[in-house]
Symmetry: D2
C-alpha cells in the first residue's frame, strides 16, 4: 500500500498515522518528496487488513491510499504462464482452432432446436447454445422451458454430436443443469452472484463467465477467481458488451477486453457479438473483429425464424445468415494464424 500525505502535514500527525500503519501489521517506509511525503506500507495486501480507511480516519493527514498488488491470483498469467485449454466432447477451447458456439437465444420447441442444431453443425459450429432458464427484465416475458428445454438440448446433442452450453440461473438448479450441459454459462446479470458462481464451480463442469454490464476487467477476473479457487480449472471469460451512453447498440462490445484478458490471464476468451450489439446486422462485422483481436471462440445467437423468436429476435441470425457468416469468417481466422 502507498499512503500519500497531505502537503501541509505536521510531524505529530505523521507519527499518528505511522503508528496506526504498524498496528495494522505493515512496516512503514517513508519517502520525503519535493511536494509530498509518501509512505510505502510493506506487508502482504492479500492477507493484511486494507489501509484504505486511513483517509477517513486521518482526514487532515492522509490524502490518498493506493494498493500496489493485483488482487487476483489463480486466474493470472503469473500463476500459469501458458494458455489454459478446455476440452469438451473432443472440442478444445483455447487451442489453435477458433470454436463457434451457436444456437437460439431460448430453446422454444423440438423443431426449432433441432433445425438450428443441424444447420449450425453443417456450417461448422462445434457447440450448441440455447437457453432453458431465461433471465428476463420483466416477469411478464417468456422465462424459458426449464428442464424440458434441457432435455431438448440433450436430444440435439445426441443427434448432432455438438457439445451443449446453457445458462444456470439458480443455485438450486446447479446439479440439474450440470446433468445436461457440457459447459455452464453464467450470465451478465449474475456475474457477481458469487453464490451461483460457487455452486456452478462445484459441479466440475467448465464455466463460461460473461462480463457484467458495469464490470471492470479487474472485477471480472476476481469473479473468475471464485471459480478457480473453488477447485474448478475450466474457466473461460466471455465479453458480451458493457453498458454505455450509446443508444444505437444494445451494449458497447469492448473488444479491447480480448487482448487485455489474454495478457492478464491464461483462461480462454469468448466473444458474444449478439448480446454485444443487439443487432443481427452488426454480428458479422463484430465476429471478424473478435477473431482478428484474438478471441478463442464466438458465441452466436441463431434462430430458424428470428421474427418468431420468443426472446431477443432483433439480434438473432437466420440459419442462412449464420452459414454466410461462417464462410466470411474464414480468411480472418486464417489471418489470425488460427484454424
Amino acid at each position: 500500500m502507498i499512503i500519500v500525505f497531505k502537503s501541509n502535514i505536521t510531524r505529530k500527525k505523521e507519527e499518528a498515522v505511522l503508528k496506526e500503519i504498524k498496528r495494522l501489521g505493515y512496516r512503514p517506509h517513508i519517502m520525503r518528496g519535493v511536494a509530498r511525503t509518501v509512505v510505502g506500507a510493506i506487508g502482504d495486501e492479500l492477507t493484511h487488513k486494507s489501509l484504505e480507511a486511513l483517509a477517513t480516519q486521518f482526514p487532515d493527514a492522509v490524502e490518498s491510499v493506493m494498493p500496489v498488488q493485483k488482487r487476483f491470483k489463480l486466474v493470472s498469467r503469473e500463476a500459469h504462464p501458458a494458455n489454459s485449454t478446455i476440452a469438451v466432447r473432443g472440442t478444445v477451447i483455447g487451442g489453435r482452432k477458433v470454436q463457434v458456439m451457436a444456437g437460439p437465444c431460448s430453446v422454444e420447441n423440438e423443431k426449432q432446436l433441432l433445425a438450428t442444431a443441424h444447420a449450425v453443425r453443417a456450417a461448422g459450429a462445434t457447440v450448441l447454445r440455447g437457453g432453458a432458464f431465461k433471465p428476463r427484465t420483466s416477469p411478464y416475458e417468456f422465462q424459458g422451458l426449464g428442464e424440458k428445454g434441457l432435455k431438448l438440448l440433450a436430444k440435439a446433442r445426441k443427434e448432432t454430436g455438438l457439445a451443449v452450453i446453457t445458462e444456470l440461473l439458480s443455485e438450486d438448479h446447479a446439479e440439474l443443469v450440470a446433468e445436461y450441459a457440457d459447459i455452464i454459462q453464467i450470465g451478465a446479470r449474475n456475474s457477481q452472484n458469487f453464490q451461483l458462481l460457487i455452486a456452478a464451480a462445484k459441479t466440475g463442469k467448465p464455466i463460461l463467465l460473461k462480463r457484467g454490464l458495469a464490470m471492470r476487467i479487474e472485477e471480472w477476473l476476481l469473479s473468475g477467481e471464485y471459480v478457480l479457487s473453488n477447485g474448478n480449472p475450466g474457466l473461460m471469460f466471455c465479453e458480451r458488451g458493457i453498458r454505455t451512453f450509446e443508444t444505437c447498440t444494445r451494449n458497447t462490445l469492448d473488444l479491447s477486453a480480448v487482448p487485455i484478458i489474454k495478457k492478464e490471464s491464461h483462461c480462454p476468451v469468448v466473444v458474444d457479438p449478439s448480446q454485444g450489439s443487439g443487432r443481427a446486422d452488426l454480428v458479422i462485422a463484430m465476429c471478424k473483429g473478435a477473431v482478428a483481436m484474438g478471441a478463442d471462440a464466438l458465441l452466436i445467437e441463431v434462430h430458424p425464424n428470428p421474427a418468431e423468436a420468443l426472446s431477443d429476435g432483433a439480434q438473432q441470425l437466420s440459419l442462412k445468415g449464420f452459414a454466410e457468416l461462417m464462410v466470411e469468417l474464414k480468411p480472418f481466422i486464417a489471418a489470425a494464424g488460427r484454424e
Copy 2:
C-alpha cells in the same frame, strides 16, 4: 407499437410488413407523413409478441420499431395512485416520518454490533442494518459471519427494539434470513437475480431493492415488479449510486431517481449515501440532499471504529459522526415537511 418505414420503401414491401404485423395479432394503422410513413400496430404489447424483430426481418423496409406502453404495471402509480407504506415493528416507511436505518457494513462481533445498535438508536435511528452474508468482489475478502451474524442482529433487536434489515445473497438462505430479519435487502449485484427476488418475495417480508450499478430506472421498476407479482406488496426502492466514468467517488449517487420513482411508483424510496459515495466525508451532504429531494428513508453505514472495519471502512461513519449527522439533518427534514 410504432413502426417507422424507411423513406424509399415500395408499396410491395409495405404490404409484406403489414401482412406480418397482422399475422402477429396486431391491427396496423397507416399514417403517411411528409418524410416518413409510420404504422401504429394496435394490440396489447404486454400480451402480444414483440414486433422489434421486424427491423431485422425487413431490413430494407423498416427503420425502427418503438413500443408505446410502459412495461411495468403493479409498481406503477397508475395501478395504485396513493403512496404505499410499509410497517415493521411500529416503524412506518413511506409515511410522514423520514426513517433512518443505520449500522455496520458487516456484523463483525457482538461488541461491535451492540455498541453500534445502542448508539444509532440513541441518535434517532429506527432500523438496524448489518450484513451477515457479504457479497465481496474477491473471494479472499471477509464473507460475513453467516447465521451467527443473524443471531447477533436478533440479539441487538431484542436489546434495542430496533427493527433489523440484512442482505439476502442466496435463494437457499431465504427462509433462514426471513426468520431473523424484519426487512430483506437485495443488493445491487443481485438486482436482476430474479430467482433471488422471487425467493425473497415469497417469504412475505418487506423487501428493500437496491438499484444495480448499470440499471436504468425502467429496469429497476421491472425488477420490483417481480416482487409485487409474486404476492409481496412490501417493496421499497433504494438508490445507492450508479457506475459512471467519475473516479473520485465510488459510485455516482443519482438523486434524481428519488423524484422520478416517487412519480412513477407508489413504493417508498430509500437512499444509501454510504455506498453511493464510498466516502464518509460526503455522507452528511448526501443525506441532506436526499431528504430535500423527497427520500422516505436513509440507509447509513456506521461503525464504532471505521478504520478497524472488516469491509468498506472508508465509507462508514463513526458513532459520533452519525450522531452529528442526525442533528444536522433536522432542519432539512423540517423543510421537507417531514418528521
Copy 3:
C-alpha cells in the same frame, strides 16, 4: 511518482529502469515489499517529465506508474483556504446568500426576454440568463440571435437591474460578449476548449465554467486552472449533469460534485438543474437538493411559454412555475444556514 515493478523482475532490469528514472531527473527510492518492489521517484511532477511511459518502455519490468501530486494548483483550497466570492453589480456569488440566475434558454425577442426578466426579478432572481449564441447539436436548429440578443440582454438589465450571464461560443466574440455580459458562461461542450477558456479569461469578466458531459472532477478543476492561470480570479464551477446510461433524464445531475468541489477548491459552485435533468417537472426537486448540499447559486431556465420556446422547451419552467419554486426553496435555504 510511484513505480510498481512486476513480481518476477530481475536485478538487471531493475537497474535499467532506475537509470532511466535518474536520467529523467528524479531520485529513485526503492522499497522491497512482500509481493512487489516499489520505487518512489522523488522530484516535482509538475515541472519534470512524466514517467508514465516507463510501462511502455520496460514492459517486462514495470507493472504500473502512479502520480502522487495533485495536478491543479491555483483553484485548490491549499492555494486559497477561504471561500472566494465574486461580486457583479452588487450581487455576491459564493457568500452567505444563495443566488438565483434565471431566464430563457435562448433570447428570442424583446417581449419574451423582458417579460421573463421582470418576472424572475419579482420572484427573487438577481442574475438574468439568456443565450444569444447557441451551440446546437444540429446545424438546422435555431442558432441564436447573436449580437441582437446581447443588446436585448443589456436592455433587460437596464430595465430590471439584474446582472447578465450569457454564453460565449467563439474566441472571436470574446470582446463583444464581454461588452454586454456581467458573467461569461462557458458551456459543457466547450469545457475543454482551452483557447476559448483563455480568451474568456482575458476579458477579465467572471467566468461560469460548466462541467463537460464526460468530465471527471479533476479535469474540470484543471480547466478552471486555465482561467486562474490566465490572470482571472473570478471563476465559478457549474454542475449541469454528466452523461450516463440512464435515459429517463437528459443527463445525470451529479450533486455529489457540490461538496467535492467545495472541499477541493475555493471557487463558488453553481448548479443547473434544467440541463441537469432536461425535465421541467424535476427542476424543483433538483433545486432543493442542490441547496441542501451546499450550492452557492442556481442557474434555471424560465420561459413565458415553454411550449413556444425555440430551444429546449421540455426543460424550461413557466413564469408561474418559477415563482412557486422560489417560494418552495425558502425553507431549504434557511435549513442550509443561507439567505
Copy 4:
C-alpha cells in the same frame, strides 16, 4: 412526431392537445390502441417546431413524444448511396486501399519529426500525423510548437512526399493551419465546437472529425453535418474511443461504430487505436480489429523514443514497433478484401 397519451386521459384534454398540435403546424392523426391512444403529428420535423414541450405543457395528458425522422441529411447514405472518397496528394481515403496515417502525438523538433516521417513512410504509411497545437488537460503541460511545428510538418512532407494531417484548435488559426495541412483534424474535445467546425469546413481542406468522449453516434453524424452543410464534402469520421467506467484502458474503443457509420453514412471511417486504448501494447490488436471491421484508414501515434515524448508517451509505438505492426496487419487487410 408520435405523441403518446396517458392511459386515463379525458376527451377534453385530448382536444386541447390536438388543438396545440395543429397550431404548431402539424396535422394530427389519432390511433386508439388497446392500452394507449397515440397521435401521429404529420409535418416535416426538420422545418417545423419540435413538439417535445407538449409533455411539459400538458403533464396530465401527454406521456411521451417521439420523433420519427432522422435528424441528419447530407452525411446520410440516403443522400449519397455510394461511398465518398477523399484524395490528398495522390492518396485516396475511402477507396480500396486501407490508408495508414502515422506520426508523433506532438511535433517536438526537426530530428524527431523527420526520423519518424522517414520511418513510417518506409513502413508503408501515406499520411504523416503530428500535433503542432496541442489541447492539454492541464495548462502546465506542453502546448505544442505552434506555427514552428507546422513548418516542420511541411518540411517533412517535402522530404518524404507524405500528406500531412494536424489538429486545428482555434478558429483564429484556421487559415494558418490550412496553409500547411492536407487534412485538418478536429479533436475529440472540440467535436461539438461548432464554430471551429464551420471555420475548418470553410478552408475547403478535408476534415477528420474525431468522436467526442461522450458523443452518441447520432450526434457525431450531426457534427459532421456542420461540415457538409458549410460546403465542404471532404469529411471523414474518426473513432478514438469513448469514456466509460473501465479504467484499465484510457478510453473504450467502440469498434462497432465502424460498421454503423459505414451503414448510416457515405463518409470514410478512420480508427485511432492510440487514443482509443492509451496503451501501446494494445495498438496492434486494435488495428487488426479495426481493419477486420471495415475501417478505411488508421491513425497511429509513433515516436522514435516514446519514453522521451513530451505528450502521451504511454500510447506511442516505437519506429520498430510500427514497422512490425505494418507487417502483421497485411493478412488482415487481405482478408478484408482491401489493399
